[in-house]
């Protein structure tokens, strides 16, 4: 199984890219989601424009912009940091949209009741809205994570040595029939990797549903 070990060589990089971009997204999307549901129209529209713009441009364009387009003094992005930053920014935009949907899905009465009880706006947001919104969006976040795992393959186009890149180089070295193997294996591996996330999301969803609708 030469092909399989070649593909596996890229696995740590794929997982690292996905985890880093996901971490950036999970944290960075919070202020953006707050901005998206802000009552100040200027803030709201600016955040909306940012989210729509980031989502409206394919990931490969962001990666090429960062890798080839950005040069500040002597600083240039190396492929791995370009991929992490690019996938991270895209994750911020997608996850912010997911968070916003979750916050909007929390019944209005919850916020109003908190106000009536004299809770501060910070307490209302952090301890009333966010816990309920998280239950609603956790399956969507898991779905996004599997999407991000697949999108990390795009980093191979800027020469990051992740799984697809390794499959490519194996296939180049093996012009015989064996050369199709890495593509088949890497495809199966992506599907296999997203199974645990999908499973987790389903069990999480079931548990959270129980918690919300008692």
């Amino acid at each position: 199984m030469d092909a399989f070990s070649a593909v596996l060589q890229g696995l740590p990089m794929t997982l690292m890219l996905t985890a880093s971009a996901f971490a950036i997204g999970i944290v960075g999307a919070v202020p953006l989601a707050v901005g998206l549901s802000s009552s100040n129209i200027v803030v709201r529209l600016a955040c909306r424009l940012f989210v729509d713009l980031v989502r409206g441009v394919p990931i490969i364009v962001w990666l090429f912009l960062l890798k080839f387009g950005i040069q500040i003094g002597t600083f240039k992005f190396d492929p791995v940091s370009a991929a992490i930053v690019g996938l991270g920014v895209v994750s911020v935009a997608y996850l912010a949209e997911i968070y916003r949907g979750g916050l909007e899905a929390v019944p209005r009465g919850q916020g109003e009741a908190s106000g009536a009880l004299g809770l501060s706006r910070g307490t209302t947001f952090l301890h009333v809205m966010v816990p309920q919104a998280f239950r609603i969006v956790s399956p969507s976040i898991a779905t996004y994570l599997t999407g991000l795992l697949k999108d990390s393959s795009i980093a191979s186009t800027i020469i990051v040595a992740e799984m697809v890149f390794q499959s490519q180089s194996f296939a180049r070295q093996h012009p015989t029939m064996e050369g199709i193997l890495p593509y088949v294996l890497v495809g199966i591996l992506y599907i296999a990797l997203s199974l645990p996330v999908a499973y987790l999301s389903r069990s999480l969803d079931a548990r959270m549903r129980k918690a919300v609708y008692v």
Partner: protein, 217 residues
């Protein structure tokens, strides 16, 4: 202002690339959605073999990255003597992608049609053909419209991956221009604007349809 004048010079070359991108997206949608409809019905078939086959086609189309499917068609299959031109490979790969994604959306749409509709059609003695095409599908497809529009936008953006197999689409044209005089920042910004100029309004239209549908139901 130099950016604008350079952009004006680049634009004609980019536009031909954009044409190729739109064509590939169009083909993958026009061929993919009917296939998706067939798959969405096959997935619920009683025959185990049919169901398993359809499920495998859908799960691979959705679960494997589009880039991997592109490479499989363009670099993988030729090793078995099945060679495609790069544009054909891109169309085939993205068609598979769009069929897989759209089938899930259509299946959800078809399943959202109330069971009573099917029972009533049977009670009225309608043939399965009439039941499906005149009763179930028109109602099921309506709720699938926003999702299908979303997949169409995703397919348009996905054509940018065809860059990796040297299809002369928008991204490839941009890269070619950029490698002539190394104005990568300008040219990729312009390419991004081209993608956004189509994707963003399309997204807004999709959101509009989503809201309208949510109000009606």
């Amino acid at each position: 202002m130099s950016w604008l004048s350079e952009w004006a010079a680049y634009l004609p070359q980019l536009m031909s690339g954009l044409g190729v991108s739109l064509m590939i997206a169009g083909i993958s949608i026009v061929a993919g959605y009917p296939l998706g409809l067939v798959l969405s019905v096959m997935v619920t078939a009683k025959n185990l073999a049919v169901r398993t086959l359809a499920l495998a086609v859908v799960e691979v189309g959705r679960g494997a990255p589009a880039l991997v499917i592109l490479y499989l068609f363009y670099y993988g299959l030729p090793k078995f003597g099945i060679a495609f031109e790069s544009i054909t490979a891109a169309c085939l790969a993205l068609t598979w992608n769009s069929a897989a994604y759209s089938s899930e959306i259509m299946r959800a749409g078809l399943q959202s049609v109330a069971r009573g509709q099917l029972e009533a059609s049977n009670a009225l003695g309608l043939s399965w053909r009439h039941t499906f095409f005149r009763v179930i599908m028109p109602q099921g497809m309506r709720s699938a419209i926003p999702g299908l529009m979303g997949v169409a936008i995703q397919m348009f953006q996905g054509t940018s991956l065809a860059y990796a197999i040297a299809v002369p689409e928008l991204m490839k044209s941009a890269y070619n221009i950029g490698s002539q005089d190394f104005n990568y920042l300008q040219i990729f910004t312009l390419a991004g604007i081209c993608y956004a100029a189509i994707s963003m309004p399309a997204t807004w239209i999709t959101v509009y349809f989503e809201r309208r549908l949510a109000r009606q139901t």
